[in-house]
Point group: C2
Chain length 435, copies 2
């Protein structure tokens, strides 16, 4: 049995859904890299009893390590340090040296906000410097210190790593937690795992279930592999985790999947479609891209420029919601809109070509569609989206798709379709296969 | 003691952070609207034992109702129906009528994917129609039926509502769950809660902690209120939940906050900054807006067009990453870039003016900055972002800000600053106050 961990995310704002938890998933990734088996993520509000029960539950599940996020702020509803102290049988004490170090940080904040209430700052300072006696301090990245708290006396509760809620602070503090003796001792039984991911676009999830059955029937010992499949933003992901002795089994399995899904498998090395499109645009002959977006309203531009260094190949984009903007900005012939309608493959082509011309790019992308909730017709219902990706004086892929879901889903899924069409154009592959 | 609920989110892809859970927060909101107290959200992988322990934990915490999401798919790693059946002491049986209804749905899918493996579909069909005996069926929105499963015999475990993982399916099925007898019985002790939200922009969270202390000192019985504060996308949110008899206390508290934070409070009725900007653009005299974005790469356009009906006031946007695009698309004078640099208030002004001209809009927004991780200088470190929002021949607000965090944080936070500047311009308020 390897090392096991649990995560407790605290915060009424997370429990009530006002804030999306980014810490649970991030910590989950880090623990997996360390070969620690994550049992459970528990989200509780800022109530001491709920937090205590969550800690006890994870201890009862056999966790060797618990990581908490949140509840270290300056306000009275931030209770984590106190609750963890009680859980480990440790008194709370004010650490004067720590208080001084936090005070130094607060001086900087006070300079940024000239009219700030200094008494409020000091009250928060005292609270944040009050920690369980004997805990290991992780120096603040923001103003809150983190803690590693082991049980006092003969108790056998798991070590608890206490981290602040803001993701930037939590992530910045993690390396310091890793090198504490308590952390290393807690995960001493970690297992070596390997993990690999296969990604496909353009098949339903049931096909993967069938692939697993066929792999099993073909004599591949898939029981040695921990395989999970999921559908994400329209892509099917098959993630396999295994211990090193199962490497050969994994390779047989991966080959089996590659053969059965040759037309739709686009990644077997962990790269995302975004990474691949960026790499294809950069590699010789390097090409630049420009966009003209209607229904996606800038989402594809935002997605392409999300990667650092994208200014090397993104020439620019036009968000052309109105017909006038389509004509004025990227020279779509109004007669074309009159004849085929703004949502048509013909207009998508004109958008792609117009983007190439307007921005002087090598490759253009045009998207026009009906994201909803209104604007659908019998012939072009909500979810109808037309795409064109083209190289200047070169190959082109046009596609009309019908995408499911809400306005947000249609807009998001449209960017994924466009990324895949772009990849296929850059690889000289032609349109997506029909399954 | 009112009705209490717990949520179990299943799925290794969620536990390992590959998929962000949208169901927990959504269900949390729905339960709160019903006056049900949410205890805990537990995320577990696709392992039967972990799911069972999560259900037992929530039963032990005194939940009257448990809602599960996920694990109802056609693949063998989808175990929820079986685990919940066992938890409630019910045998699994194939429901032939249900199987027939699912088969009809699958026929539609098979038509969309002409080369699909029919055997795989049928295997999935059998699995998805196998349910705990006596469970109430919630008709599929996708292909998976939901379930409401009560304990068999004399057991006192809470009722379990079993919902599919895809948010669209889960949300579509929720109304059917609500009207089942088992659900209504489980939440019969629900409390009537009221909830209100105050939102501020431009103050640190410590100021709110001080406000709470001062409200207490001023004799406001804030113990009657359940107040949570959080920092989200740079905005401070104060959410208060209370039972109806505390209405007068809440009003005193809200007045106290409004007075102390008059300059930075922008919402006391639950509206978001996005709602407000949309409403301001629509109200007489209706105004249109156009954008020229550099470092945000289309994110602000995407944010403004996220709301249905935004085509009424968003004229369009230009994503002008390169200096050439800035000049070609929105007529930024290259000499200006030469003199002040691309990241400068002067260029932001030219971008806003150019957007107004190019798109024929009433209001223009220009954003230019250094999102990082590279490109910072001593004078303009990473996180420096310049904004200009302007009315055609009218008032204007310019701002140079330094925003913390990663590339993604800087880009996202920039859109929030721009939205607030836009609101203030449309209200005739001038620049954000300095705290």
């Amino acid at each position: 049995m390897g090392a096991r961990a649990g995560i407790v995310v605290t915060g009424t704002e997370v429990l009530t859904g006002r804030v999306v938890d980014r810490n649970g998933p991030w910590l989950s990734d880090r623990l997996r890299e360390l070969g620690v088996d994550l049992e459970t993520i528990i989200i509780v509000g800022d109530r001491a009893q709920d937090m205590e029960h969550a800690l006890s539950f994870l201890a009862g599940e056999g966790c060797d390590l618990i990581v908490t996020s949140g509840g270290l702020g300056p306000t009275a509803d931030d209770l984590t340090a106190e609750v963890v102290g009680r859980f480990q049988g440790r008194e709370m004490t004010m650490d004067d040296a720590l208080r001084g170090r936090i005070a130094k940080i607060l001086e900087g904040i006070a300079r940024r906000w000239p009219h700030i209430d200094l008494e409020a700052l000091e009250e928060g300072n005292r609270k944040q410097a009050t920690i369980p006696a004997g805990a290991t301090i992780l120096e603040p990245v923001g103003t809150a210190p983190g803690l590693v708290v082991t049980p006092s006396g003969g108790s056998t509760t798991p070590a608890v790593v206490v981290l602040p809620g803001p993701p930037r602070e939590l992530q910045g503090m993690w390396p310091a937690a890793l090198i504490t003796d308590a952390f290393r001792l807690a995960i001493k039984d970690h297992t070596e795992y390997r993990q690999a991911m296969l990604r496909m676009f353009g098949i339903p999830e049931s096909e993967i279930a069938e692939t697993l059955r066929r792999a099993h029937d073909a004599g591949i010992a898939i029981d040695e592999l921990e395989i999970t499949t999921c559908l994400r933003r329209g892509e099917v992901e098959v993630v396999t985790r295994y211990e090193p002795p199962a490497q050969a089994t994994y390779e047989r399995f991966a080959t089996f999947v590659r053969e059965r899904h040759a037309a739709t498998l686009f990644s077997d090395d962990g790269t995302s479609i975004d990474d691949q499109v960026a790499a294809l645009l950069r590699r010789a002959p390097a090409r630049t891209v420009a966009l003209a977006e209607s229904c996606t309203g800038g989402l594809l531009s935002a997605r392409l420029t999300d990667l650092p260094g994208s200014s090397a190949y993104v020439r620019g984009g036009a968000v052309v919601y109105s017909n006038e903007a389509k004509s004025d900005l990227v020279s779509v012939d109004p007669a074309l809109i009159g004849e085929f309608g703004a949502v048509s493959v013909e207009v998508a082509r004109a958008l792609a070509d117009g983007a190439i011309e307007r921005f002087g790019a090598d490759v253009g992308v045009g998207i026009t569609g009906i994201a909803g909730p209104d604007g659908g017709t019998e012939d072009k219902p909500v979810g109808t989206v037309c795409f064109s990706v083209a190289e200047r004086d070169g190959p082109r892929i046009d596609r009309r798709a019908h995408l499911p879901g809400s306005r947000g889903d249609v807009r998001d899924r449209s960017t994924t379709v466009a990324m895949h069409l772009l990849r296929r154009l850059l690889l000289g592959l032609g349109d997506l296969p029909t399954m």
